[in-house]
């Protein structure tokens, strides 16, 4: 069911820009932007130790406290560094407590198929739900699936107030037969050269002269 809403205390960020953001990150903080609900966007700084577990655990809605004012925000986008070790920036969108939001949920696949090959068709689905009823990521257990079995949107359980944008018969994953393939080593010895763009036209011009 719905997540417990996490609270994050943030401080306004007066110095913006690449260099200042880099300096901020070196102190263990994460630059973020809070925007939405027809209010001015605010540049803020989050504690890295606070935001990382929230993002990793899949929370989408957080309470943001800026200088004593609390607002509800949705984690819109998270930027990671190259090796997925540090969060570089977070986009936070203010939302009303009584509105519905569109949220992308990752489909979590548990287990391994005993026979056949698992083909994942959809890795995530968009759902529309009230702010305080954001469901957990749907979990699909594939251990008992057999060849030609499929899992569709209809097989996933969601609370009543949550609507999925895709039709119910949309296939999320299926189990295919293992195909016998022949692995042929390509001939790496022949060294043909690629065509050089513009070379033919130059040659033709010389011939014409």
């Amino acid at each position: 069911m719905a997540h417990d809403t996490k609270s994050l205390v943030v401080e306004p960020r007066l110095l913006t820009g690449t260099a200042n953001s880099r300096r901020l990150r070196s102190t263990g903080k994460v630059p973020a932007t809070l925007y939405g609900l027809n209010q001015d966007p605010v540049s803020v700084a989050l504690a890295g130790d606070d935001i990382t577990p929230v993002v990793v655990s899949g929370h989408k809605i957080v309470d943001i406290e800026v200088e004593g004012t609390t607002s509800i925000a949705m984690i819109r986008e998270v930027q990671w560094d190259t090796f997925l070790t540090h969060i570089l920036h977070v986009d936070l969108q203010r939302v009303d407590s009584d509105t519905r939001v569109d949220i992308e949920l990752v489909i979590v696949i548990r287990g391994e198929v005993n026979e056949g090959v698992l083909e994942i068709v959809e890795r995530s689905i968009m759902v529309n739900c009230p702010v305080f009823l954001v469901p957990d990521s749907p979990v699909v257990r594939v251990g008992s699936l057999k060849i030609d079995d499929t899992v569709t949107i209809a097989d996933l359980d969601f609370p009543d107030k949550v609507s999925v944008e895709l039709p119910d018969d949309t296939v999320i994953l299926r189990v295919n037969e293992v195909q016998d393939i022949e692995i042929e080593a390509e001939d790496v010895s022949s060294a043909l050269e690629p065509e050089v763009i513009g070379r033919e036209s130059e040659d033709e011009d010389e011939d014409a002269e």
């Binding site: 990793v56 990671w80 997925l84 391994e112 090959v117 698992l118 080593a185 022949s190 690629p194 065509e195």
Partner: protein, 139 residues
């Protein structure tokens, strides 16, 4: 025939330097598991082909392979026992430029243990240190 471009604008390029981490092609995008470089280097077309065969022999139709690097750059070489000078050598082979963080191969349809075992075999063939990586949290 090993991988190489079909058409190029210039046959030869200067060597240059590989600086910084990868800012593109550094996320697992197609499969579930990726082989990520942690060093910069050049991966030749022959090496990519050897890795492809090693992966396909391991997963044997039970999974799917995605090759995320392509040898776009030519490397020139001078013939043996020739004197210096007389211009740059002729293209000898083709390499893919890899920065730290580049995802080189991705596989899907196999579990973590199988992916780890599979990529361990591939790692022996590669001239750069690599690591197993998965999709970013929440994607």
């Amino acid at each position: 025939m090993a991988l190489m471009p079909r058409r190029v604008k210039h046959r030869k390029s200067q060597r240059g330097r590989i600086k910084g981490n990868a800012t593109r092609g550094h996320r697992v995008s197609f499969g579930e598991w990726g082989l990520q470089s942690v060093e910069a280097g050049y991966i030749s077309a022959q090496t990519i082909e050897a890795c492809r065969i090693a992966i396909m022999q391991y997963i044997r139709g039970e999974g799917r392979l995605y090759i995320r690097v392509f040898p776009h750059r030519s490397v020139t070489a001078r013939p043996l026992e020739t004197r210096m000078g007389k211009g740059k050598g002729e293209p000898d082979h083709w390499v893919a430029v890899v920065k730290p963080g580049t995802i080189m191969f991705e596989i899907s349809g196999v579990g973590r243990d199988a992916a780890q075992e599979c990529f361990a075999r591939v790692a022996h063939k590669l001239p750069v240190r690599v690591r197993l990586t998965a999709r970013p949290p929440g994607t």
